[in-house]
Symmetry: C2
Subunit: 143 residues, 2 copies
């Protein structure tokens, strides 16, 4: 599981922390529980937790009369993060559009057309996914 997250571009430690929090019972754990379970240094755990928080993948809760933070996977923001992936599609699309501007005087129309089709596809798919997200929101909002 950690390896899967690693492949998504996370560091090994982030992958392990994420996997641990997903499987933990209760599903929130404090700094030292994480550190002890993973047998890692404080700095490695601290950095992993901070990065995962920056990315909105995890957050933490506290309990009154206890100064420790209890870190947990943030299911809500995970759903939201799909939007981020769609934005990535948009970034690629914009890059390819810029390429096409650069290539406007090219004699190789077939290649340009190939790129144009990719741009069109990205526009098609991201627009449709936008609609799907709305659909999902409604579905969940009503039920």
């Amino acid at each position: 599981m950690g390896i899967f997250f690693e492949k998504q571009g996370h560091s090994p430690m982030k992958g392990r922390v994420l996997a641990f929090l997903l499987l933990a019972e209760p599903p929130y754990k404090d700094f030292y529980e994480i550190q002890e379970f993973l047998q890692a240094s404080k700095s490695a755990v601290s950095n992993a937790l901070n990065h995962l928080q920056d990315e909105g993948i995890i957050d933490y809760i506290t309990f009154s009369g206890d100064r420790r933070r209890y870190f947990r996977v943030n299911c809500n923001s995970w759903l939201k993060s799909i939007r981020g992936k769609i934005d990535q599609v948009t970034t690629l699309k914009d890059l390819l559009k810029a390429v096409l501007v650069e290539r406007q005087d090219s004699k190789h129309l077939d290649f340009n057309e190939g790129l144009e089709e990719i741009v069109e596809f990205h526009e098609f798919i991201s627009e449709k996914i936008e609609i799907l997200l709305e659909e999902w929101k409604n579905k969940k909002g009503i039920s």
Copy 2:
């Protein structure tokens, strides 16, 4: 542009080669043109080209009476590679399902429900995207 591809999990050299081939006029270049433009070693270029070919991102053409290979971005396979990304969504979904099996006796129903919703969302979205891909194929097949 190279940096964008790097963020997608490619090595810097692969990113640069890809960016160069996208902008090149003509849109196909031989080994030495690539090497000279990027001011890189033969081995770095060779490895980058081979990996990009393995991933189907580029391919090459040849001209009779010329033994050099002319490498170019493969627009068609780029479109196909979207399917690979959907498969990744499926992998995550399967992992989360396994997590839920592991968590079946958990007392934290709210967390489990959160995970279930993520799984449902992934199922919803990947199914719908499958349909969108068909739709796109038809649209392009007819026109």
